[in-house]
């Protein structure tokens, strides 16, 4: 690995993640005003919304890198798809955990089968299947191709999920994409808090994906050495 890439991934990325995360925490807990109707619980949104956007971005990258893998057979593309799917799963799981924690005091229930919530569970299940296929199927080329196709097909759920609030008019609030003049963040500091939290989580996502992708590369090297040892 070149020295410049080592610097970026080992020093700049973790430190910028740490600093931006610290700024996000200060803004979420100390600077952002409490929302008038929801009170302090609304502050869950700053991470909940951004975790969701990062997860969607991660799954879109799974689709992009899977297309790259199917076209070229690049191992790097395959590793990136795998790493993005794993970190995307972690973030989606956290969306499904933080959402009900917000919903309980606001809606009075932990869960409801609202279109957006249901589509999020479907997305989670698709990429859980993707990761299980990869884990149980091993490194067989046919399995990797099946997984790539699943990674591409699964991403088709993302636009449906984003538009679900508009298409089916569920109870999930539309914070970012709404025609309602009363919707959205009223105080500019709320907007800044959402932005800084978004930057912090984007950096965290990138750092985790880079760590996981490098680990997968080492895993492949070890597997190749085992194979070579068995042959000789």
């Amino acid at each position: 690995m070149s020295e410049s890439r080592r610097t970026w991934q080992d020093v700049i990325l973790p430190w910028s993640t740490f600093v931006s995360m610290l700024a996000a925490i200060v803004m979420v807990f100390l600077l952002a005003p409490s929302e008038r109707d929801q009170g302090i619980v609304q502050r869950i949104f700053y991470f909940h919304v951004n975790l969701a956007w990062m997860a969607f971005g991660g799954f879109a990258l799974v689709a992009g890198t899977s297309i790259w893998f199917l076209r070229t057979g690049s191992r790097r593309a395959d590793r990136l798809a795998h790493a993005n799917a794993e970190v995307g799963m972690l973030f989606t799981t956290l969306v499904l955990v933080t959402g009900p924690i917000w919903a309980r005091p606001i809606w009075g229930v932990w869960w409801t089968w609202d279109p957006r919530l249901t589509m999020t569970v479907v997305l989670w299940a698709i990429y859980a299947a993707y990761l299980m296929l990869r884990r149980l199927g091993g490194e067989d080329d046919t399995i990797l191709r099946y997984a790539a196709v699943l990674g591409i097909v699964g991403s088709l759920d993302i636009p449906l999920l984003i538009l679900a609030v508009r298409l089916w008019r569920g109870v999930h609030p539309a914070v970012m994409l709404s025609d309602d003049p009363d919707a959205g963040l009223k105080d500019p500091l709320m907007g800044w808090t959402l932005l800084v939290s978004g930057i912090a989580l984007a950096l965290l996502f990138t750092w985790l994906v880079s760590l996981r992708a490098r680990l997968l590369a080492v895993d492949e090297t070890v597997a190749a050495m085992h194979l070579e040892g068995a042959r000789s």
Binding site: I40, T98, I101, L215, T221, H226
Partner: protein, 41 residues
């Protein structure tokens, strides 16, 4: 006041999950490093 518990629960869950994931990556990296060392011997 009750809202504070929900807020704390949400952010605690986020941090435990992320910390756990980073720890699991570290554990897997150490295991692979050991394996690589043995194969190189």
């Amino acid at each position: 006041m009750k809202g504070l518990y929900y807020l704390a629960a949400a952010y605690t869950a986020v941090w435990i999950a992320i910390f756990g994931y980073v720890m699991s990556i570290g554990r897997r990296a150490r295991k692979l490093e050991r394996e690589l060392e043995e194969l190189r011997k």
